[in-house]
Structure formats: structure tokens, C-alpha cells
């Protein structure tokens, strides 16, 4: 009677455990990589971006490796983002190898910029629109370029883009997303969940570059808006919005210093990025895992989580109020970056495609790679290297 009861109980337990394992609790797969592996992966990403650079200074926007087809779309925010990532690589590593490519992309952005009053902003040559995000990311790129090269030749442009950003700011610290060229004012009805954080980071970087010029005032205003109101204003269903640009900005503000509500926000971002990486690490190729956990996230999304984690890690090093999260932030960044490196297309894999030059070093999802896949992965990878090398 006892044995029968125990056997029945253990069978039910075992069945439950197996069911749990194959459905909700599969292994976390965090590839064991070294700092050199991550650096090599970042370099391969830089090489892809350089190879994709076109004679007019644009990049290959999107390439379908399965069909050997190019997209005719282009996105100026992503152009500025990819350009910024090259300067970021240089600022992080001291390797100025990609400077020529980055400067060609920068020249294109400068050529299509629109000037008004005392500011300038990138204008989309296709539809004439003037969007905040592209100018913010270009400004961030220019600041990083200056950090990397100490070259001051773009200081006037850098401030002109910053004045455009400030012109787009509303009294509550948030930003409008489009300047209406024909009307001569900003569209009062359109904001962007991306552009606010991008503008925040750019202004925070700029203040750290030129501390006496007052760029901290709009930066603090947007930091408050992001920390206290943005998720509600934008009606995000599961706040906080996983905004790596906000994390970048907060880490730039680490020495200002941050107020407690900024730290609360930073901690909530850390929780969100950590969870996203944990979930991603449980995704696999089997049918069941795909059904339950979803397909693997494209690098343009996955990379942003690693960027966010590395920024918050840096904040945790600088601010004791975040110190208790440092180890976990380092672990998650390492895991996220390891997965990125593991999923990158190698030369051997790329050789199977029609155009290996546009597949090697890329992250391909459903046969397609887009330029911001390489941008975000590159940024995440190169900023994780110091964490790995510090032994966290």
C-alpha cells in the first residue's frame, strides 16, 4: 500500500517536473565567451558596416540573404544610429580604423541637414521630413567622435544639432518628434517612444563634453519626464518601456548626481532588461520552445538590452544606490553579449550565401539583416568587453 502510494506520487511529481522543464523552465543558454571573443564579434560587425557603406555615404539598409535581395527603404534615424555606433566603437576601444567610413556617413548626414534659425537638423531627402531621432543620434555620434579623436572641427555643428533638440522640447521635458518644415514649427501631436530617450542621451553626453554651457538643464528635465511620467503618458502596457537610450543617459548623469527617482527608474529598467535577457536565453530552435517562448529576438532588439544593461552596469559602478545590482547586471550583460556573439554569421556560414560580404559578421533573422542589427549588437558587444575583462 505504501509503495504503491509512493510510486504513484513520485510518478505525478516526475511528470510535473518534466512538463515544467520542457515548457516553462528550459535551460538558460549563456555561451561561455571571453572578452576577446566579444571584441572579435564587434570587429566583425564593424567590418560589415564598412563593407555596406555605399559611395553616397549611405549604408545597405536591409539585405535578404536568402533571396539575395536589397530593400529600397532607408531610414535616417537608423543611418545616424549606425554612424554613431562606429564612433562609439572608436571611443570605447581607441581603434580609429572605422573613422574614414564613419566620416563618410557623417558627411552624408551633414549634407542633408536642414538649417533654421540658429539650429540644424537632419532632413530626410526622400520625404523632406525633419525627425528628432536622427539629429539626436548624430549629435551623440559627434560627441563620441570628439571623445575618440579629440578633433574639434565639428563643434559648431554639434551645438547646432543640440539647439534643434532643445527647440523640440516641451515644458514637461518630453519631446516632439517632427519639425514641420513648411509651417515652421514642430508638429504638436506626434511624439516618439524612441526619440525622447535618444535626445536625453545626446544632451547628457553634450553636457559632459561642455559642462559650462547649460545642456544639463534640458537633460535633467527629460530625465525627470522619463523617470516619472513617460510610461503613463505614452500608455505603455507593461512599464517601464525597455529604453536603452534612457539607460545611456542615466549612466552619463551618474556624477551629476542622479536624484532618487532617477535611481528608482534605473532600477526598474535594470529589472526589465535582466528579465528580457533571461527569457531570451531560454529560447531555442525546437518547435516546442518556439511555440512557448517565441522565436529568438533579432539583434536590433536583443542588442538594445545589452546596451541598456552595460549602461546600468556603469551606473552601478559610479553610484552606490545601484551597487547591489552590479553583479547581476554584469552577468546579464555577459549572457546577452555571449548570445549575440554566438548568433553572429561566421565567415564559414556566410560562404554558403550568394553575397558573403553582406552576411559575414551580420545577424540574420528569417533570412534578413538590417543595418541596425549590426549597430545595436556592436554597441552592446563592445561595451560588455570591459565588464568581462574586469572579471564581473
Amino acid at each position: 500500500m505504501v509503495l504503491r502510494g509512493l510510486a504513484g506520487t513520485f510518478c505525478v511529481w516526475a511528470l510535473g517536473a518534466i512538463l515544467l522543464r520542457v515548457t516553462l523552465v528550459p535551460s538558460h543558454m549563456c555561451p561561455d565567451v571571453s572578452g576577446d571573443d566579444l571584441r572579435a564579434s564587434a570587429e566583425a560587425s564593424v567590418a560589415w558596416i564598412e563593407r555596406s557603406l555605399q559611395p553616397d555615404g549611405s549604408f545597405v539598409y536591409e539585405y535578404n540573404a536568402d533571396e539575395d535581395a536589397y530593400s529600397t527603404d532607408y531610414n535616417e534615424v537608423r543611418h545616424a544610429g549606425v554612424t554613431m555606433s562606429l564612433y562609439q566603437y572608436m571611443a570605447e576601444t581607441g581603434d580609429l580604423g572605422p573613422l574614414e567610413a564613419a566620416d563618410r556617413a557623417l558627411d552624408r548626414a551633414l549634407q542633408i541637414s536642414f538649417e533654421h534659425d540658429n539650429w540644424m537638423a537632419i532632413q530626410n531627402p526622400r520625404d523632406g521630413s525633419v525627425q528628432l531621432g536622427s539629429s539626436s543620434l548624430l549629435l551623440a555620434g559627434l560627441v563620441l567622435r570628439r571623445q575618440a579623436t579629440a578633433d574639434t572641427q565639428y563643434d559648431d555643428e554639434l551645438r547646432a544639432y543640440a539647439r534643434f533638440i532643445v527647440a523640440m522640447q516641451r515644458p514637461d521635458g518630453s519631446f516632439l518628434n517632427y519639425w514641420l518644415v513648411s509651417q515652421g514649427y514642430a508638429n504638436p501631436n506626434v511624439t516618439s517612444k524612441y526619440a525622447t530617450g535618444e535626445a536625453f542621451w545626446a544632451l547628457a553626453l553634450l553636457h559632459n563634453m561642455f559642462p559650462g554651457e547649460g545642456w544639463d538643464v534640458p537633460a535633467r528635465a527629460v530625465a525627470d519626464y522619463l523617470a516619472l511620467y513617460r510610461d503613463e503618458e505614452e500608455q505603455f502596457e507593461f512599464p517601464p518601456w525597455a529604453d536603452q537610450w534612457a539607460a545611456y543617459g542615466l549612466s552619463e548623469m551618474a556624477e551629476w548626481p542622479l536624484e532618487d527617482h532617477h535611481i528608482d527608474y534605473a532600477r526598474s529598467l535594470a529589472e526589465r532588461f535582466g528579465f528580457l535577457v533571461r527569457v531570451e536565453s531560454q529560447r531555442g530552435e525546437t518547435w516546442l520552445l518556439k511555440e512557448i517562448h517565441g522565436p529568438k529576438t533579432r539583434a536590433a532588439g536583443h542588442g538594445t538590452w545589452v546596451e541598456g544593461l552595460t549602461s546600468l552596469y556603469r551606473l552601478s559602478v559610479a553610484d552606490d544606490r545601484m551597487a547591489d545590482l552590479r553583479g547581476d547586471l554584469g552577468d546579464r550583460a555577459f549572457c546577452g553579449a555571449g548570445m549575440l556573439a554566438d548568433r553572429q554569421m561566421t565567415a564559414t556560414e556566410a560562404a554558403r550565401y550568394t553575397e558573403p560580404a553582406l552576411t559575414e559578421g551580420a545577424w540574420i533573422t528569417k533570412g534578413i539583416t538590417r543595418m541596425d542589427d549590426q549597430q545595436h549588437a556592436l554597441s552592446g558587444l563592445i561595451r560588455t568587453v570591459p565588464i568581462v575583462e574586469a572579471g564581473e
Binding site: V2, G5, T9, W13, L24, S27, F275, L325
Partner: protein, 183 residues
Amino acid sequence: MTGWLALFVLLLAAANPATGARTNRTGETRALAAGIAAAMVAIGLVSAAAGADRLLDAFEIEQETARIAAGLVLAMTGGQAIVLGGPLVRDIPRDWQRGIYPLGIPLAVNPALVACAVAFAAHPDAGAARAATLATSAGLATAAVALLLPPRLNAFADALARLTGGLAVLLAAAMVVSGVRDV
């Protein structure tokens, strides 16, 4: 949830000691059955807590994910307690052997208590010693109910077990949220 008192309440809800009343019988083997169950609790839960880190490493599970999984198990056993009054048991022996089954397993040492012991043993803010001590105490409470509760109070114990199941479901939700929100 990792402080001594909060964790004890959670583990007590996972143990659901009132379910121990399902095996209580008057007679001379009552103390022996409770003693056997207590020994199984001590061995089972201390081992689970002590081996938690190695177990999670072996299965490549982060402690936050283990907490979410333990929360799900707790929710299921809590739901079962609400509906059935506790784990499904039948053919209860009348002699000391009921200390092994069902009092030892699955009443005193149940999947929710084991899962929570493992999850909190691996939690850096709780640790193996605290999780082992509190989980064992909670499990012993089930054996104590089987030993001390007069059979005439069985109906009361059944109601209490169902209420505790409700509490377990609430705490399970908090565990899942806490696991999700951890970095």
C-alpha cells in the same frame, strides 16, 4: 519575502500543515508515524536546500527562474488545496507506515515546499541555511498536526487547509512577480 518571518509564512503556506490532519488517527502508532514523517522532512528539505545551487547549476536554471517555477508549483498545489483540501491521497495505512506515505510524502514533504526550499536556498538574500531551517520547521508543523490534532477537529483542519491554499496562491503570485522583476 526573504526575511525570516515573511519566508516562514510563505513556506508554511507551501507546507500547508493542516493537511496533516488527513492522517491523524488515535492509537499507539501515532507518535511513531509522526516521528518518521519528521525524519523525512528533515532529511528531504535539508538536502533540497543544501543541494539547491548544484541542482540549479546542473539544470542551467537561474535562481530567479527557479523562483518563478516554484511560484507556479505553489500556485498549483495551493489551487489543489482549495479544491481538494490538499494532495490527493488514498489507501492510508492504519499503522506506522502512514508516516512514510502519505504523511511523509506527499503531505509533509510536498512539491511546493521542496521547490520553494530550493528556490530560496539559491536566493542570495535568503541562503541555504535560512531556507533549510524554515522549510524544515514548516514541514515539521505538518507532522505536528498529525500528532497533536484531535480527530474531532478534522473538519476544521480541512477548512484551514483550503484557506491556506488560497494564501498559497496569493503568495505564489508574489513569487512569480518577484522572479520576473529581478535583474
